[in-house]
């Protein structure tokens, strides 16, 4: 390879890199507009995380469904991840059979509401048998029954401006979903596991189920939904308690 060629190559590479940086700026604007930038896009792991999230969002744009299984494939063991909140108000509500528990909805909604467990159980129910993997590596198949989150969202009239739903639980594991995942056919609020009322250790009285992401996105001990157009001003701005512990906000993996 002569010096001449390598110099020309160097100039071409420089120009390409320059165009690349400018292009990246424009691409970032477009990507953000189409909801392809995760809230934890910053920091050294941001590029990989953003590539993963954007790629998977585009791949799943048609609302692809997670695999569903037969009842005979349901796991005998449903491992418990993390203990139930030991303090009030959770323990007080639990002692009262969750009669005083309410699911409140607020933020960018037309009709802020508070639903009792009985009201939620009267909504159109959905049952599905799905595979759930924990980020740790273990997994199980279980049957869940609940109400599609999209049903509740239509009931309270989520504003077109909303881009995320924030899940507030009684423990510290708050989290959020983008609206494509919130409206997804397999995302629902479950109150029944394998034919029985959701046990306390599995998130009673109500937990989120997100079939296309790892287990930690399926927030337990749910009591409030907040619809927002940006996660910047919610807690630390990273959309979930997970990034502070080192785990990514998006867990489609």
């Amino acid at each position: 390879m002569s010096a001449h060629v390598s110099r020309r190559k160097l100039i071409t590479t420089g120009l390409t890199a320059g165009a690349g940086v400018t292009g990246l700026g424009v691409a970032a604007k477009i990507a953000d507009h189409y909801g392809l930038i995760p809230p934890d896009w910053g920091g050294i792991w941001g590029p990989g995380e953003t590539l993963t999230y954007a790629t998977q969002r585009l791949l799943m744009a048609s609302g692809s469904l997670a695999r569903e299984f037969n009842r005979s494939e349901v796991s005998k063991v449903v491992p418990v991840s993390g203990p139930q909140p030991k303090t009030d108000p959770y323990q007080r509500l639990r002692a009262g059979g969750f009669a005083d528990w309410r699911l409140t909805t607020d933020g960018l909604v037309a009709r802020p509401s508070a639903f009792s467990l009985a009201e939620i159980k009267r909504m159109p129910a959905k049952t599905q048998i799905t595979h759930q993997a924990c980020e740790e590596g273990w997994s199980f198949i279980a049957e869940w029954t609940g109400v599609p989150l999209s049903y509740v969202m239509n009931l309270v009239g989520v504003s077109p401006k909303a881009k995320f739903v924030v899940f507030w639980p009684f423990d510290e594991s708050w989290d959020s979903l983008d609206l494509p995942d919130a409206y997804h056919a397999q995302t629902f609020l479950a109150y029944n596991l394998n034919g029985q009322d959701l046990p306390a250790d599995h998130g009673a009285p109500l937990r989120v189920r997100v079939a296309r992401q790892l287990g930690y996105k399926s927030v337990k001990y749910l009591h409030r939904l907040t619809f927002v157009d940006s996660l910047k001003n919610v807690v630390d701005g990273r959309g979930s308690a997970a990034p502070a512990a080192g785990y990514s906000w998006y867990a489609g993996i």
């Binding site: 590539l51 799943m60 695999r67 063991v77 740790e136 590596g137 273990w138 992401q213 489609g252 993996i253």
Partner: protein
């Protein structure tokens, strides 16, 4: 002597001791891949520590039978958290450089010329002598710096066309988002936990390959061979016979 890059070039160039051995693209992708591979192994180990136990089939966890329990502690948080961020960032680097390498290797005929076994290399006597030379750690002859021997060719082909694709395939099989679009990744792997187990064992084979690869580089002359992968030229004043 096996086919090399040099035989395609001019005689004058081929006889120069510093003639190009590795193309710029092979060198760049080699070192980017080195970085991503180290990051993948370190972060993969971090993720493994969250649950150093392996299963077969779709599901598995504490309280269900395992096929392998590694003598490692269960460690939550820490490496299994940043390990994940690091693993996928490195996986992107690995896959993108891997694609670049694979496409250019096909287009430039690098694979056909330099990695497919050359004429005569697959004969029993040739295989035997190469294997014997490796087993007794015989220092390779100087001219071997210009070409790949049969064991190199076969192991490189296995790494590029079997192990790396298998890692990506089983990695995809572990993504609930990807398998919602492409369920065949997990179905063909024999289930989520089987995919995780294969991913682990294939990773071990890749680490074994790297250990042998580095050992052979040391045996052949670490400075000269590593220098060749950086500058593209075989230095050390040896004139190719």
């Amino acid at each position: 002597m096996a086919t090399t890059y040099l035989e395609a070039g001019s005689i004058q160039e081929a006889s120069r001791p510093d003639a190009a051995r590795f193309s710029l693209l092979v060198r760049i992708t080699h070192w980017l891949n080195t970085i991503s591979f180290v990051a993948l192994v370190v972060s993969g180990f971090g993720i493994l520590l969250a649950h150093p136990r392996f299963y077969w089939g779709e599901t598995g966890g504490l309280g269900t039978p395992s096929i392998l329990d590694l003598p490692l502690p269960f460690m939550l948080g820490g490496p299994s958290g940043w390990g994940r961020y690091m693993h996928f960032q490195a996986a992107w680097l690995c896959v993108l450089t891997g694609l670049l390498y694979a496409i250019s290797g096909l287009v430039s005929q690098h694979f056909r010329t330099n990695l497919l076994p050359a004429k005569g290399q697959l004969s029993v006597s040739s295989l035997k002598s190469d294997l014997w030379n490796h087993l007794r750690f015989k220092k390779p002859a100087a001219e071997e710096a210009y070409s790949y021997n049969i064991l190199q060719r076969l192991s490189y082909l296995a790494v590029v066309f079997i192990l790396f694709p298998l890692m990506i395939w089983t990695g995809m099989a572990m993504s609930p988002a990807v398998t919602s679009v492409f369920p065949f990744f997990v179905r063909s792997s024999g289930g989520y936990e089987t995919a995780r187990t294969i991913h682990f064992f294939a990773a071990n084979l890749l680490v074994l390959f790297v250990l042998i690869h580095v050992a052979m580089v040391c045996l052949a002359g670490f400075v000269q061979r590593t220098g060749a992968m950086i500058t593209g030229r075989v230095s050390g004043g040896r004139v190719r016979p």
